[in-house]
């Protein structure tokens, strides 16, 4: 026996019970309240199509709302709660809404809650309070979720008789096979109809499939069928709310299959009649399943309503289990069912049920034109069968109409998918038309949509099935209309006076059944979706407890506060150290490419918009790169290390993009060049030493005079080979030192010791930002935002006059050099601090003429400065503007100046 609770009351279940089976076993008929009218609802089905018995399972972060009681297997300690009721399930105040049903008909929202958006915000609060599914948990989910790939020759969906046989045939033919079954045991229809093929056959077949190398995944639902025969499977490794054995609760499989076989069976349809949603009204095959699989007999006095032969199996099963079959209402004319041994009424269709909140009491029917009534506690209905064509349609397949079955069946598909079994050949049924009052004749049980709602939509002019769907919300609940679509189409076709196929069909989209958000997020749910990129020297930085700054996927030190320093205090101290003395920072994340070969210079002059080939060995220069349309997309430095070997650096944020660009140019534009271009971003760890004392520090470190500005030399630090580049981003004399990342710690330690010995310190990204803004250096993603040309950034004098670089053709377009373009400017605050990101306006209320791309405080002199983009900015130096940020309520008066606030002649970094 297994202990569980429902709405706080303890019950017991048997091994293998679904929650629905366990509730029925304990005599619980009322399981939930409907979405709109709060009508009492019980258990209608035994599968994933269940529209009524939605419960919240589990507690805390594991709580899973809107779980179908038919799709969760009871485990020890399971806690389930009913939803959408107050104060309790039996007495629900919200049920008063049922009295207002005439006012809450189809299109209620559209007719009632119109007006301004502001009004809707008001309405929405109450609508959300009243409407009802379960509540999302407020705590974090403690479990993990896995994403796994799989490949196979044949993927079979559904382990009923057809699916098992198909899997066996494929596996024993030497194919790589995956067989998935949403239930936790195999067999599907054979479980409720074991007389067709028994459990032994299922067991033997599964064993043979496994022996042939096939993989069988129970408790796994094929939830999505995508292009190129990619099928996503959702696998439950633990039940909703259950503590998983290995911490992984669910797994999302991405299966790429050579062929997909859909053996998905069919779903039994309910019938439309008044109060057909009452607890005690169930689908016929579901009743049979509860009896055969779980040993639970859902009723003692049973009426069966059908339009096909299948329901007679249910009658016999119930009779064998000791229930009394009061009547079989067969919509077909005599002699259908004549030899069944039961009391059969032909030309009989249900009209109405009566009962209490928890149970059914009687069933009325129209029998050959006369109304009859029977006392009953269970009504098992079978309105026909709807093939599960969802995956076929998701695969882009078309559907054919099967007149005998009154159902759509799979036709052709552009993908390699085949449907077999009952999904391809549904049982024949007798076509019947509802005769009951449409007002309480529910067709979409989850969204409380009745035949009357369809009629109203029709009366109001909604002719298209797509419009009907959206106006009535039919088929838009979590069950995606599995039970309702055909009834609605039948009614729509009836109104139109056409056959059902002519009425149209809505589109099935993934997922087939609801998928949890955690499963979609996968392992990334715990770390914001991606791995953090760590610096080679991460441990050294972490030991200093810096403030970290996310930069793309990287985390870099933003500042190294001393004692109780704030970020701003620490960054300003660090920046002053660089201006006055010496500082050191980690620049490992810069993009770096080693370009080798006789055509290396030619290759780089295609990538870079500046000249390269004229560089002498041991020299470097600033460079930038353009997109094909002539806009700047990255910048950096290029260094000639040897006759035929160069090092190209570019921005951290654009590193991956630059790698792709270089690869594209190498492979597609220049396959003829004798060149090798290798991404060495992570091979070289890098550090920068900057400040008036930087040269002295580097001299001491390498034991020889440090290279002059924009020169490079190989050297040795702490016995480790390094490459020293003399380049400045801060505006001070500065050096970048690159070393094999495996050997970087010793080099960093030696450099830090020398910097500290000179009274210097480490500095982070915040100080670097202060320094570069004051100097007027660009940053990709800031000033270089994809909309600026070399002219706009005052880089045009550096362009390679010989052309030939990517973007050269695009750049000559007249529009890129006409007036009215935004241009790089500096901004000095006259009054107030300049808000970063603010817009530049000539006066209050005027349209923006530019924006502030980066703002900082001057390091030595004080005062707020910024870089920005301003329409015709080059010719507007001296103008007074307002830098305004309405979203932050900040503004400052600024003067437009040249974008160099510090050492514009560059005297400080030259020897």
């Amino acid at each position: 026996m297994i202990n569980f609770s429902f709405d706080g009351k303890a019950y017991t279940a048997q091994e293998g019970d679904t929650l629905a089976a366990a509730l029925l076993r304990n005599g619980i008929g009322l399981v939930g309240r409907s979405f709109k009218y709060h009508r009492p609802r019980g258990i209608m089905t035994a599968g994933v199509e269940e529209p009524n018995a939605l419960v919240t399972v589990g507690e805390g972060g594991r709580a899973e709302p809107n779980t179908r009681a038919t799709d969760v297997f009871v485990y020890e300690g399971l806690v389930a709660k009913s939803q959408n009721r107050w104060p309790n399930l039996s007495f629900d105040v919200g049920a008063v809404l049922g009295l207002a049903a005439p006012a809450l008909s189809a299109g209620f929202y559209y007719k009632t809650f119109f007006g301004s958006a502001k009004k809707w915000m008001f309405y929405e609060y109450f609508i959300r309070k009243a409407a009802g599914l379960g509540n999302a948990p407020t705590q974090a989910d403690p479990d993990r979720f896995s994403h796994r790939a799989a490949f196979c020759d044949v993927l079979i969906v559904g382990a009923g008789p057809a699916g098992l046989q198909a899997a066996l045939d494929a596996a024993e033919a030497g194919k790589r096979v995956i067989l998935v079954e949403q239930d936790n045991i195999l067999g599907a229809s054979l479980i409720r109809d074991p007389q067709e093929l028994d459990a032994a056959w299922i067991e033997v077949t599964a064993a043979r499939i496994r022996a042939a190398g096939g993989r069988i995944l129970p408790r796994t639902t094929a939830s999505g069928y995508w292009e190129h025969d990619l099928v996503t499977l959702t696998q439950r490794l633990s039940e909703p709310g259950q503590v998983p054995a290995n911490s992984v609760a669910q797994r999302l499989w991405h299966v790429r299959a050579g062929q997909v076989i859909l053996a998905t069976g069919s779903i039994e349809r309910p019938m439309a009649f008044a109060h057909n949603d009452r607890p005690g009204v169930m689908l016929s095959q579901a009743v049979r399943s509860y009896v055969q699989r779980f040993g639970v007999v859902p009723g003692k006095r049973v009426v069966i309503a059908t339009n096909n032969d299948d329901a007679y199996k249910t009658a016999q099963t119930l009779k064998d289990a000791g229930a009394q079959i009061v009547a079989i209402l067969d919509a077909r004319p005599a002699p259908a069912g004549a030899n069944s041994g039961h009391r059969v009424y032909n030309d009989a269709v249900p009209l109405l049920t009566k009962g209490a909140r928890h149970c059914l009491k009687s069933v009325s029917a129209l029998v050959d034109g006369k109304t009859m009534e029977w006392d009953a506690d269970l009504l098992a209905v079978s309105g026909g069968f709807t093939p599960v064509v969802h995956l076929h349609m998701q695969a882009g397949g078309t559907l054919d109409w099967n007149e005998d079955a009154q159902a759509f069946i799979p036709a052709s598909s552009r993908q390699n998918v085949t449907t077999i079994g009952r999904a391809a050949e549904p049982q024949a049924i007798f076509k019947m038309v509802p005769v009951s009052s449409p007002k309480k004749s529910f067709i979409d049980f989850q969204n409380d949509v009745t035949l009357a709602d369809v009629d109203l939509a029709w009366a109001e002019g909604y002719r298209s099935v797509e419009h009907l769907k959206r106006y009535t919300t039919l088929g838009m609940a979590t069950d995606q209309g599995k039970l309702s679509n055909m009834a609605a189409l039948g009614r729509l076709a009836e109104k139109q006076g056409v056959a059902i196929p002519e009425a149209g069909l809505t589109t099935f989209r993934p997922p087939y059944t609801p998928v949890t958000m955690g499963l979609i997020a996968g392992a990334g749910a715990k770390d914001a979706g991606a791995h953090v990129r760590r610096l080679a020297l991460y441990d050294l930085h972490a030991a200093k407890n810096p403030i970290w700054q996310p930069l793309g996927y990287w985390f870099r030190p933003r500042a190294y506060p001393n004692g109780g320093e704030s970020l701003a205090q620490a960054a300003m101290r660090e920046a002053k150290a660089v201006r006055n003395n010496v500082g050191m920072t980690d620049v490992s994340t810069l993009a770096k490419f080693e370009v080798s070969g006789p055509d290396a210079a030619a290759f780089l002059e295609i990538i870079c918009a500046t000249t390269v080939s004229k560089l002498a060995v041991g020299r470097g220069r600033y460079t930038f790169m353009l997109r094909e349309d002539g806009f700047v997309f990255d910048d950096g430095t290029v260094w000639r290390l040897d006759e035929n070997r160069y090092l190209l650096t570019s921005s951290t944020g654009g590193a991956d993009r630059m790698a792709t660009h270089i690869s594209y140019v190498r492979q597609y534009l220049c396959p003829h060049l004798r060149v090798s271009a290798v991404n060495v971003q992570e091979h070289h760890a890098g550090l920068a030493i900057a400040g008036p004392k930087a040269k002295a520090v580097v001299d001491a470190l390498i034991g020889t005079p440090a290279p002059r500005h924009m020169s490079t030399e190989p050297a040795t630090i702490a016995g480790t080979p390094v490459l020293v580049l003399a380049a400045s981003y801060s505006g001070e004399r500065a050096f970048e030192i690159y070393v094999d990342a495996n050997q970087a710690k010793a080099v960093w330690a030696a450099c830090e010791a020398h910097v500290q010995a000179e009274g210097g310190c480490l500095y982070g990204l915040e100080a670097m930002e202060f320094l570069r803004i004051e100097k007027g250096h660009l940053v990709v993603g800031g000033e270089v935002d994809g909309r600026m040309t070399p002219h706009d950034l005052a880089l045009d004098k550096m362009l390679n006059k010989a052309g030939g670089y990517i973007g050269a053709s695009g750049l000559v377009r007249p529009a890129l050099s006409e007036g009215g373009r935004r241009q790089l400017v500096g901004l000095e605050a006259i009054e107030g601090d300049i808000p970063e990101g603010s817009m530049l306006i000539p006066r209050e209320g005027a349209s923006p003429q530019g924006h502030v791309s980066a703002a900082a405080f001057r390091i030595i002199e004080g005062g707020s400065v910024a870089l920005g983009q301003l329409v015709d900015g080059f010719s507007r130096h001296g103008e007074i503007l307002i830098a305004s940020s309405p979203t932050r309520g900040q503004k400052a008066r600024v003067r437009v100046v040249a974008p160099h606030f510090y050492d514009p002649a560059g005297e400080r970094y030259r020897d």
């Binding site: 896995s146 994403h147 490949f151 770390d527 953090v532 080679a536 996927y553």
Partner: protein
Amino acid sequence: MTEVTITTPPAAPLHVFEIWGNPAAVAKRFKAAMGFALPATGQSGGSDALRLIRFEPTVWLVEGDISALGDVLAEDGALTATSGGIVRMRLSGAGWRTLLMEGGVFDAESPTFAAGCSAATIIDHVNVRLHVVSDDACDAYVPLSFSAGLLHFWKEAALSL
């Protein structure tokens, strides 16, 4: 439970060996100098002293002593050091193939992905190069910056294969 162990061997010299011209001549010189053929696409060759793993049509990852390769390449290609940016990890045990399917997009479970095969793929958003050492072991070459994250990911995933 499917077993797999993840270890991180010490850093080894790694280089990119790229050919830009005369591939037949390079292949001939290589065979003559090294005693084995340049591995085909998706294959590796050599020994623990020097192994070449081909991941791209004109690019091999070289693990080991490269002293003889400069002459092999002559003017037809280049060698570039890359060991600082790559962390080698060895996945050992019967479960290594299953582990590689976690967050993966590559068919590591294919019987054709056997000892001596190589692949470049993405695992949980990280670019990884694979080299099958034996039926029970596969080496992964992981970017240094992602190595801590991917190691954590694999260790977690290995608990629930």
